[in-house]
Symmetry: C2
Subunit: 166 residues, 2 copies
């Protein structure tokens, strides 16, 4: 499980395109995530359109690397698929984490760009992607061949661990 520690947020990519096969493997990893009552309340939008990728940078302050990236996946929740209300954020977050791990394992780089619950990002992205009522973008994941490398992070902090209560 070294991948859990070696995976880092990668924001610089080469020009090389990721393949459809790689994108499918990443989405397959997302869909393998657990969800409340196995409700799987998710959709995945693959964006390769240059103009759409550029558009996102106009309203998302941390998405400027999309100008240099040629592919991104938007993870969306669909409240109409919920059996357990208001768990879609957790379900889709678990899926997103699986996708970041798979991207790393494939030798690719990605980063979790938060969208929901910031309305100034959610609304323009819903409009750009023409999402139906009840489908909410959670996060954007640029995917590319890494043009930067980072050492594994050690974030362990014993002070955050408690026993039998606070």
């Amino acid at each position: 499980m070294d991948v859990l520690f070696k995976r880092r947020s990668i924001r610089k990519y080469t020009d090389q395109s990721v393949s459809e096969k790689q994108i499918e493997q990443i989405i397959r990893a997302g869909m393998a995530a657990p969800s409340a009552g196995n409700q799987q309340p998710w959709h995945f939008i693959v964006i390769r359109d240059r103009e759409m990728l550029d558009q996102i940078t106009t309203f998302h302050p941390y998405a400027q690397m999309l100008k240099e990236s040629n592919c991104a996946i938007v993870v969306c929740g669909d409240v109409s698929l919920e059996k357990h209300e208001r768990y879609w954020v957790q379900d889709c977050s678990a899926a997103t984490q699986n996708m970041l791990l798979m991207a790393h394992d494939l030798g690719l780089g990605s980063v979790w760009l938060g969208v929901f619950p910031v309305e100034e990002r959610v609304q323009p992205l819903r409009k750009l992607l023409n999402l139906p009522e009840g489908v909410i973008p959670l996060a954007v994941l640029p995917v590319g061949y890494p043009a930067e490398s980072k050492k594994p992070a050690d974030r362990f902090d014993q002070s955050r661990v408690h026993y039998n209560g606070w």
Copy 2:
């Protein structure tokens, strides 16, 4: 990355206790998760107290396996640690998914028992664990040696994949 597909929700455990070392490895995996602005807004409560584990089953309808489990970890968000407001749920969900993967990799079983945002679970758990203001339990993860086995799930659904918009 077979672990992503082989990991399943395990709800039956043997009597064998998991070690402190194993629990630390699972929490270490949680803390390796990405978070908004690397804010790491999490705390982890390890419960081995028999009475406390039993108490949780009185208010959590899906936590009955805790009667047979001798350890659980509660993943909590701490809003006072947030640099990016309202992202703690996503951050702690990524941490939770990492923990489930690590548990599987160690040969252990676990399951994501949802707590937040259901108030009838959040409030009694906050009281039981004596959590300070702003610390919110997201999920309970029983951890044990598996007494059941499940085949990998194939949840891939092409109809959930869209290209350049809906």
